[in-house]
Symmetry: C2
Subunit: 216 residues, 2 copies
Amino acid sequence: MTQATELYFDFLCPYAWRGVELAAVLRAEGEDFTLRHFSLVEGNHADNARDLTWRITEQTLDAPEGEGYMKYQTPSLRAFLASHAAALQGEAAHWAFTLALFRAHHERREPLSDAAIHVAAQEAGLDQAAFAAALAEEDARRAELRAELDAAREVGVFGTPTFVLPTGEAAYYRFETLTREADKAREWWTLYRTVLTSEAGIGTIKRAKNRPPRRA
Amino acid sequence: MTQATELYFDFLCPYAWRGVELAAVLRAEGEDFTLRHFSLVEGNHADNARDLTWRITEQTLDAPEGEGYMKYQTPSLRAFLASHAAALQGEAAHWAFTLALFRAHHERREPLSDAAIHVAAQEAGLDQAAFAAALAEEDARRAELRAELDAAREVGVFGTPTFVLPTGEAAYYRFETLTREADKAREWWTLYRTVLTSEAGIGTIKRAKNRPPRRA
């Protein structure tokens, strides 16, 4: 059994980005996290309200980018498959690629395009030929993604970022402030774990709709 | 301006019960809480999905207790009106009545009936004649309730218990474990306030569906 905390994310989600940045800081301090994918488009799809009938892994990458779901479906699938391709080059490469693509999308506001993925792979120092070859093996990447989405469903992930502690506790953790400072990252991570492991048995702390959290 | 924390609750809700018990322990330690009503039946009513068109304060107390909403509508309205009647006898009386009725319903599993309300009023040491007279002034109690439900809507309350701190932060706080111990109550309250006032700007910590919180 792994002693790593699993971190479920979707490249679409700005809160997942903050979560991945937080985990990246903590990794540098020796905390162990494993990157996992959860699809918001699949999870929130109206066709899946009762049973899981609509899978993002069965959709074409050529679907037009239109309104509603169609604005997100192809970009998120494209990013997930690229993420699995990057993961084949090892954990460090996967983290570097994931951070690079998150920053391109949420910090520089670039779309999750093939071009952005190509640049992120370069920034992450990936072996470009191997990355292209892994992307070309699309069926294998789709199978890997599908397996992770099934695992997320098993945990009951409904949003990102969701962390699954080595001791089994799992919860969505949404916060507004991006940090790359070790002391803050440690403090916010300890606070989250304290909530999850409290004897109170805390299920939810959720801010009232008209009272947004304070922003730093 | 008040320096009290507002505590929104519905007698229907077992989590609100735990929240009121927690606040009662903290009150004994000098922390200031004000009891406020929020109606889950009104808040979750399908007719209110877009605009507020269905008000619990406009419903009859003679509505039959059937399935779905109708299982909860009359009992919750009855309990709210009684709570406002008790509040006229002062804050201590209101707390005593609220705790007595919560315990009858969630600890002894009694329905929120006229009989249970009568017993709770006795347990709370209310002036029975004054309580009956206040209950009989039904229009006034309905108006008071309606005003509180409007205030809850203003805050954006969506579930109970929701606490509104004197500094303005407001959030739903759902936990499983009932405590009447001062040290635990203090610890769980401090944890909640730390989450709400953290520089992280935490909006939500919510456990994944298939991983329930630990129970003591």
